[in-house]
């Protein structure tokens, strides 16, 4: 299928892009209990249970309590899962109910559509992160050693997952295909990325497997921002994350440009 020859610059309206972004934000904000409060509660339960069971038995970094080690991982896991859920569920719902037609009929370019969906996913990820921090601040005293890294990995991680959600939403034709994507790809990759442990505690084989997953670098780099300690140098993690973002963005933009499963 040939890519559309869209003259993107001509007639560009920032307000059009902002409207789609605002609509996507309103979509999750209107059901905030489900889209923000519920994942915050889930993260809180993880923290309570794991810290209760492992606090006295596990120490990953010297001088860092297990609960403090766990918390950034849980925040990042929540950010990633919710960023994916936002764009994927919005798009599949719009496709199945048919209201995607209003976006497709509009003069928005495929780049604006991409940017609005991904940015909305990032904002949901940030809202969940803020919520998790707010309710768990009592449990751990985090040092915030390098806030710039925290922000960079949170933004890039949620952008990657928002883009993956967009790809899944474009590809899927049924809700259960999204659920399968979530259960068989997103969930295992986030769980195996060192959220609950340091991958250095794994056998060699699983360490190698973990290092193949970009999710590991997102979590490890994010955690570096809190403690100034990580399994991999943060610059390496950032490079992997940036390359991953570029790769998934290229795929998503290509799908949108060709109208794959959107413009028939």
């Amino acid at each position: 299928m040939a890519a559309a020859r869209e003259s993107v610059a001509a007639g560009f309206s920032m307000h059009g892009f902002v409207t789609l972004l605002r609509k996507e934000v309103l979509r999750f904000a209107k059901v905030g209990v489900q889209t923000v409060a519920a994942p915050v509660l889930t993260a809180l339960l993880y923290l309570l249970i794991f810290s209760h069971v492992l606090e006295e038995r596990v120490q990953v970094f010297d001088g860092v309590r297990y609960t403090s080690f766990l918390l950034p991982g849980l925040v990042m896991m929540s950010v990633l899962q919710n960023a994916f859920a936002n764009s994927s569920s919005s798009l599949i719902q719009s496709k199945i109910t048919g209201n995607i037609v209003f976006v497709l009929l509009s003069p928005l370019s495929y780049r604006e559509i991409y940017a609005a969906y991904v940015l909305a996913a990032v904002l949901r990820g940030m809202a969940v992160a803020a919520g998790v921090f707010a309710v768990t601040a009592w449990f751990a005293n985090l040092p915030f050693a390098a806030p710039g890294w925290i922000l960079a990995f949170a933004l890039l991680g949620s952008a990657i997952l928002g883009t993956m959600g967009l790809i899944a939403g474009i590809w899927a034709e049924k809700f259960d295909q999204i659920a399968a994507f979530q259960s068989f790809i997103i969930m295992p990759l986030t769980f195996l990325s060192g959220v609950f442990y340091s991958v250095k505690s794994l056998p060699d084989f699983w360490q190698t497997v973990s290092h193949l997953s970009p999710f590991f670098y997102m979590v490890d780099g994010f955690r570096y921002g809190f403690f100034g300690v990580s399994d991999v140098a943060p610059a390496t993690s950032l490079s992997v994350v940036v390359v991953t973002f570029a790769a998934v963005s290229a795929i998503a933009l290509r799908l949108l440009a060709t109208g794959y499963r959107l413009r028939h």
Partner: protein, 316 residues
Amino acid sequence: MTPAIEVRCVAKRYGDFEALRGVSLSIGRGEFFGLLGPNGAGKTTLISIVAGLARASSGEVAVMGHDVVREFRAARRALGVVPQELVFDPFFTVRETLRISSGYYGIRGNDDWIDEILANLDLSSKADVNMRALSGGMKRRVLVAQALVHRPPVIVLDEPTAGVDVELRQALWQFVRRLNRDGHTIVLTTHYLEEAQELCDRIAMLKQGTVVALDRTQSLLRRFAGGRLQLRFSGAPLPAVLEPLRLPDVAPAADDDGVATRDPSTGVRVSLRVDEYAGVESMLAALREAGCRIEELELAHADLEDVFVRIMRETR
């Protein structure tokens, strides 16, 4: 003057299936244009290509002189589409929906025009009601409103009255007629041929992805001058000499009480094509000679439904 819509040699293939086979047509500014055809003829595919919802396999389409691919922004700003399906976003109220639609087209502060559309479509009282809470007819009106928020010069209505009650249909046509009088180009697809006959200046008929008729509505009706002799008779079957003139039943034959008629006691109901009114006398003579007793007789002028049936049959 640049036409409102220009379609040049547009083909659309889905694998081996050819939905459109080199369709060309031009719709002038200010026209009320009808796009007719049986199910699967390619009407919605053609409209989808004009609206940018589908991409032509070959050929070109322009809206108000703007190519729908190369100058997609200008083409889409010039076009308002009322989709066939009753689609809506369940998260928003009617007003929010219309503000969002306006925003997509880069329009801010559009509330005055939104209020005017709402008033014209009798939706003012529903402005702050969630879309989910609206009846089907109300949702259909919101779809029309969404197509109009950016004041497009060209409006495409894809089966807008499917499943709509008579009152809304009348109100909708009154509003659309006014838009047309105000200079908007209207493109309509419908299965209600009487609506097309009443509203459209010009009509294209599609069949299996090909334009099989394209003319002014009155010219199409004149082309098949004459009419239809509707009969109920008993006593003998229709003579063989009249069989070639027999028209297919457009609606199931029924008597005044709505009871299907093939009952010998009430007679047989048939419609015969009348090419020239002078031929009616010989048709009646043939019936008499065959021993048929005419119970009812009505001479009807050709309408768009007759024209449609004949064109579809003749282009097999």
